[in-house]
Structure formats: structure tokens, C-alpha cells
Amino acid sequence: MSTPQTSPYGFRYIGAKRRTKEHPRFVTGRGRYAADIALPGLKHVALVASPHASAKILSICSEAARAVPGVHYVLTGDEFCAATDSLPIGVDAPKVTRWALARERVRYAGEWVAAVVADTRALAEDAAELIEVEYEPLPHVTDAEQAIANTDTLVHPAHGSNVILHRNFVWGPVEAEFANADHRLSFRATWNRNATVPIETFAVAAQWNPATEILDIWASIQMPKYPDQAARALRLPGNAVRVHYDVDVGGSYGVKRGIKHTVLVGYLARRLGMPVRLIEDRLENMRGGDMHGPDRTFDMTAAFDGDGTIRALKIRAIDNVGAYAGRAPFQLGKPVSAICGPYAVKAVAYEPVSVMTNKTPQEAVRGFGQAPTNFALERTMDRVARHLNMDRLAVRQKNLIRKDQFPYTIPSGSTYDSGDYQTVLDKALAAIDYPALVKQRDAARENGRLAGIGISTCLEPSGGNSAFEPLLNPKNETTTWMDSCLVRIDLSGAITGIMGTSSSGQGHETLVSTVIGEVLERDPATIRVIHADSLQALPSNSPVGSRMAIMLGGAAAGAARQIKETLLAIAAHNFECEKEDLDYRDGNVNLKGVPDKMLSWDQLVEIAHRKFHAMPAGVEPGLQAKFVWEVPTGGGLPTPDGRIQIYPCYAFECHIVYVEIDPDTAQPEIKRYVCGHDCGVMINPDIVHGMTYGGIAHGIGAALYEQFTYDDNGQLTSGTFMDYLIPSAHEIPPVKIVDHCTPSPITTFGQKGSGEAGYLGAPAAVANAINDALAPLHVEVNTLPISHLAIWETIEKAKRQ
């Protein structure tokens, strides 16, 4: 842990251990989170939520609430829905409208019905309790398959069905491969609802300035197109909404998408002429915060040969998106980009079905649907091995795409950029001493313990152009998700990098400063990075989909290179030579072989800012450059049969887990955990490792502990941290990460994306380990989370058999 280590890739700063620029403000309590923004005269919102999963709203009586001293307003759906537009929906289902406040009908328990604005949050809550809402309960449905079958119980009757998306993709000769295969097997894998549940709930404050006609917004947001969506719903031009991105976000991992909260607060701030803030309390966050993740059942069918070769897959995925749908159905689209994982499968049929129910709406969660899909794929690999009585490693090794096959195009049309999967797997096996681990497991079994080894591999598609949107909605032609950076050198010679989005722990200030420092050969510690607001800023699509190392890193490099070219042009002009005759070192430029003939950084900056007479013709004075970076693989619309390149880069990881289960209590304990990881060049290894550790912890939570459970009445029964179990330092074991570097051939420095890695692979590995432990009992579990109770019941069932 000593600093600084040098870059293993031969760079000056990239890859070396560098402290994270953001940390000092956080360890001193000087972060600036949305709940810390103190606006003079700030008013506070409390919400009235539906107690019913489905009901008609017959009446709302708010007179008593309005009469409470200090209460400024009570807003209900009638006014709000008339004055604002519905939030956009990703798929083609225009009748599925969605507002922050329900009008006439509620569709899930916890849906907001009224908002109270008062001088303090406590007063607003007091008043909210005085609001009387009369409901007429309606039948509800929370199970996706029942929602498909039961056409009498429609969540959105105007839509005419509970199915909001249903496609059938066939890529390659699926039926021929099935007909020719030696073996076939089918099974069902279920991924229940969980989410990344940041410790900070969602918070947003808004202030309308009637003189400038600008709505200022401070929010704990991580969301592409957020200012545009807010403006559109509020019926304001885009340039009337200013989102301040210099707000620290207290964790997100995909879910901080409080667009409905924002439109509500923005409307109230403008309506009342007062600054207004809403901070979710934990129950609101869990129940009505609309941040649940995929809730998915997979029917997997595999066709394979006796030697373990997987020839084709049929995947039916039914996803329960809850009562409204924003981007959630697209979480069935990202998996298309890696539909067969890291395996050379010739043909795949994929049937994604997105179903609305009376559960809390689903939103984007880390991996955007990839973690559940990988769980199903990796359970399939274990099932195939068991079917053939083959070693699970051997089946994987048989099917892994080989290093010499890259770039490799999978049946669904995505080309994987690079990889060396076998070496990464070998390194992880060596790190855990696999033969010794097998002996340890077997010895534990002999001592009467249930012990299992779990293996999973996984791809992390990263840096995408969001083209799953046109794939799943032909009316939507999104094929780019650019990002950008502006670099400016001021008269003092100091460097500032400007980015156009907020961060939620990914260390983007460190990323940008490291990249700019690398290109300009200036110390990143001296480079300041700021988050511009949305009216000043550059196009950005926010840090989703493991994209920032590729996209923001690429943009920062592009802008810095333009600066460098300008400096070289100034020097060439003054030395009356060509740029090629010059050496650039540490920001100083000298004539090759003539050390005396040098213009220093300070001199060059001085010329650019003050001395137009010393500037070459056609070069802008004032030293700044903007660069908008397009996804390296560009953007194209899908083919008619649904082949598409969405992501440019594919990182690879494998997880090896050793679990022991106490035979008396059924308590599982993860005793060893190794992750082999290859995301190309790591710009900051500490940051990459940190996100991987954190993702693994999320994955362990999804595998063993975390679930948004509902009772028969459609009530969320895990709305607090007493019953939605977030793993602590006791449940998460020490993890060893083994790095490997296969550079991407198509990014600026060879980097690939990172951040989702651990969460994508850990659930499958842990589930496989539990199942290996249960194998001697001839039982298995294919439903996550595999809770302590589920293990107990499975063991008891085995005993009875």
C-alpha cells in the first residue's frame, strides 16, 4: 500500500497508485450532498402514500392539513397531472402514463397520492397524517405470470394488457443445433427483486427564479437525459432547467433516478415561488422510491454435445417491472449484447417479456439486467456439467472463446473487442490453489459439513450507445451516448477539467485529472476538475453502464490532446519550424536536439492568453478545448432480426467461491473468495478494485440476503433494514482480486469499463457454491436469494426424501 507505485503499463500516471481526489472532503465531513444544500427559506415536502396495491381514489380531504400553521400547500394528482406531462416511457406503450402523484387510481402500495409543503419536514409529516383519502380497493396482481394470464386484472386498463414488451429473437440456426445436439436440458431460474439500495436516499431541492425564469435543481442524481426529461414534464424549455452537478451523490449503482421526485419538487417550487426540498425517508425510498431492480424468471433450455460443447440456447425471460415502466424494460435489452456470455455458442433464441404488476416500479440497477442473466447462464453451465457428469471447470473451458478468436462476433450481432478468458481463469484458479481447495471441500464433507465450490465467469459490456432502445422500441432511434470534457488552461498555467455530470463514488475527478495529466505530462494533483451545471455543461449521459473510463476518459484525453497540439503549433510558429521538429516534455516544448531553444509551459500559456502577435494564424487565443467522444464502435440501428452492436468493450471476470454450510443450523459461510478480473488498462487500480469489491458485496447480498418481498395483499414486507438485509462486514468475506490486462484495441489507453463487475458474477458463483454444497443431498436451489431459511428447508426436504 505504499505510494506511489509506477504504472505497470508504461504510462506516467495511468495505472499507478494515486490517491483519489475526492476523498479529503469526504473524510472531513465536507462533502456536499443534496440534503446538505441549505437554501434560504427552504420548504419541505412530506408525502401521503397509498396503503392499497390497487384502488380507486374516491376522494381526498386535505382541509385539516391545510389549516395547520406552517403548512403552505397540499398538492394532489388532479392539479399536478393537469399541469405537467407524463414521464417518458422507454418502450412503445403510450397509454402507460406515469406521474409522481396518482390521479383517480393507485397501482401499488406506497404510490404517492398527495404532497404537503411546510416550514419543516416534521410539520409536513404532521399535516400529511391529517389528510383523509377514501379508496375503493380493486383486485391486484403481483406475480408476473398471473399478470400475463389474468387479463381481467389490468394494471393499466388503457394499455389493454399487462404485457408491455414481448419479443422473440432468433439468432443463428437454433432449431438445427437443437436437432443435432446429443443432449438437451431445461430448467427454471428465478432472480427475485433486490436493488443496490444506497445508504443515501434520494434527495432533491428546487428553486424557481421568476426574474430569470430558470428552475435550479440540486439532486442526488445519476441519470441520463435527466434535465431534458424534467424540463419536458414541467412543460419548460430545456434551457429553463439548470441541474447542478456539483452535488456529491451518496451511492447510486444505477438507481438514483428520482425523475418523478424532481418533477414534483420542481412544480411545487415554481407554483409556490419558494425553494422546496424532498428527502425520501427510508420507507419512502424502499416502497415508493421506484428503485427496485429486475424481478425475473428464466426458462433456460440448452442443447449440448457429450463432450460439453454448448451448441445453442433458448432463453425465455419474464421480468416483473411493477406498476409503471420507465427504462426498466430495457434491462431485458442489455443482455442481448452478451447473450451467450464468454462462451462460443452458435445460436441463441431469446424471448424477453416485460410485465406490469401492482408492485413498486422497477428502475435501472447495476448491470442493467446483466446480473440476473448471468446467474441463469452460469446455473446452466453447472447443470450441463452435472448432466454429463463432467467437471464444471472443464465444461466452461470447453466453451470459452479463445484468445485467438478476437474480435469475436456472437449470434446477436455484438463483436467482443478482446479478451484472454482462459488466462484469467487460470490465474484465479492458481490464486485460490484450486486442487487444494477441492481437497479442503472434500475433507469438510468427510467431517459432516456441507461444503461447496462455486465458479462463475462473466462479461461486463461497457461504454455503450444505448442502442437497446431501438432494439426494443423501433420508434426510438437512439444510437449514441456521447460524453465530453472541456480542458482549460488559465493565465496562471493551472489546468481545469470540466465534466458535465455528477459522481456517486466512482472518482471521476481522479479519472479526468489522471488522463489530462497523462496527455499533457502535468501532475494530476495540480489539476482541478469541476462538475459544470447542465446549462453550462457539455453533452453527457451520466455514469451509467460502466462507461466513464471509456467515454469520459476518452473525452478528457481528446480535449487534452487538442491543447497539446495548440501548444506545439504556438511553438512551431515561434521557432519557424514544423510541429514534427519539436519535442514536448512536461508541458515545455523545445526544438529537437536544441535544448536551449525552448518555450516553457508558462511562456506558451502567456502567448496563448496575451500575445496574439506571437500566435500562429487560425489558432484561437485563450487556451481551452472541448472534445465530445462518441462510443468507439459508433452507432447503428438493429438489423430486422435484432442484431446490434451496443457496447464497444467487454471486460471479463471469473469468481471462485468456497462455502461451508453448518449442517445443524443451515447457516452458510463464505470462507474463500477469489475474483479474476480483466478490464484492460486500469486508469486507477484502487478505484477499479474498490468498485469490484463493492459489486461482489452487492452480489453476495443478492445471492443470500436481499429481497423486496410482498405479501398476498400486495404490501411490501421488507421496507426497512430490519427485513431487507444488507450484508455487513461480518457477512462479506475478505476477497482476493487477481488482475489481468488485455487492452481494448479500440479505446484511448486500452481501458475497458468497470464498476458492475462484481455484481454481475458474484450471485452466480455463490449460488453455484451453495448448490455444490447441497449436491451430496441430491437437491438444488435455483431461486435467489438463497436465504438461510431456504437452505434449511431444502436440507429438510432432502432428509424427508
Partner: protein
Amino acid sequence: MSERLYAIAIEVNGTKRTGQVTARTSLVDWLREHLNLTGTHVGCEHGICGACSVMLDGAPVRSCLMYAVQADGHRVTTVEGLARPDGQLSVLQDSFCEAHGLQCGYCTPGMLIAAQALLDENPRPSEHEIRDAIGGNLCRCTGYQQIVEAIELAARRMAGEAE
């Protein structure tokens, strides 16, 4: 709900602070809203996540589960009180930076409080003792690994065994 005000006097980060609060004002709300000490964060408001941890007379407590009036006459240390008197980072704070023991920073103040309370009592904790001490503080970014490493580093530094 009565909005009667009660006078309180609490030593916060070494300075006596006084105020008038309602009975239902939690300690964390008083620290954040009345003293503008926004380093202490609110995560769950039901005593599980530990983000709101502060030290009360040297021991870590949940400031979301405590009313401000209950802290009357006591000594409270928040994250803003952990730095050295000259404003430099404490060994523990610096070790968190060095070991990348944080990402989004939201749970960090509570983690630092829990870790500092541990090191005050037990300057050379084992890994198990560290995990035990932070077992009531949830973090969603780090998987705890680099937090444990940061606390181990701080302990070694305090013992003069690491720089």
C-alpha cells in the same frame, strides 16, 4: 404535537453549543440543521445503517435514535471533530484516503467514528475485531475490504510501524 422548546447545552467537538429544541428533535437533526454540521449523515433513521454515528462521551451512538435533549450535558464528537487541531487529517482519516477506504463518502463519517472509537480502546485490533467494530455500519460501495485495510493501516501507523 407540542412544539414547546427545551434549552440544551452540549459540548460538540470541544466547543459548548447551546440551543432551543423541540422534544422530538433528533440529535442528528440538531447537529445538521441547527449547527450546520452536515458531515453526519442520515441513512435509515431506524438505527441499522450507522451512517449517523457520532461519539457520545467517547462511545459511538446512533444520532438518529437519540433526541437532542437526551444529549444535554454530554460531549459529542462528529466527523468534523476528528481532524488534528491544526486542521490536518488525522492518522485514521489519512489512512482512509491512502487505502481507498471509501467511494461515495456517505457512510464514511459513521465508519470513521466507529473506527476511531475502536482504536481509542484497542490500538492494535485484529481483522476480526475491526469487522466487529464496523459491523453496525453499512457500506454499499466498498464491500468493506478497503475500509478494513484502512483501519489496519491506521493502527500500524499509530504504532510507528508504517508511514
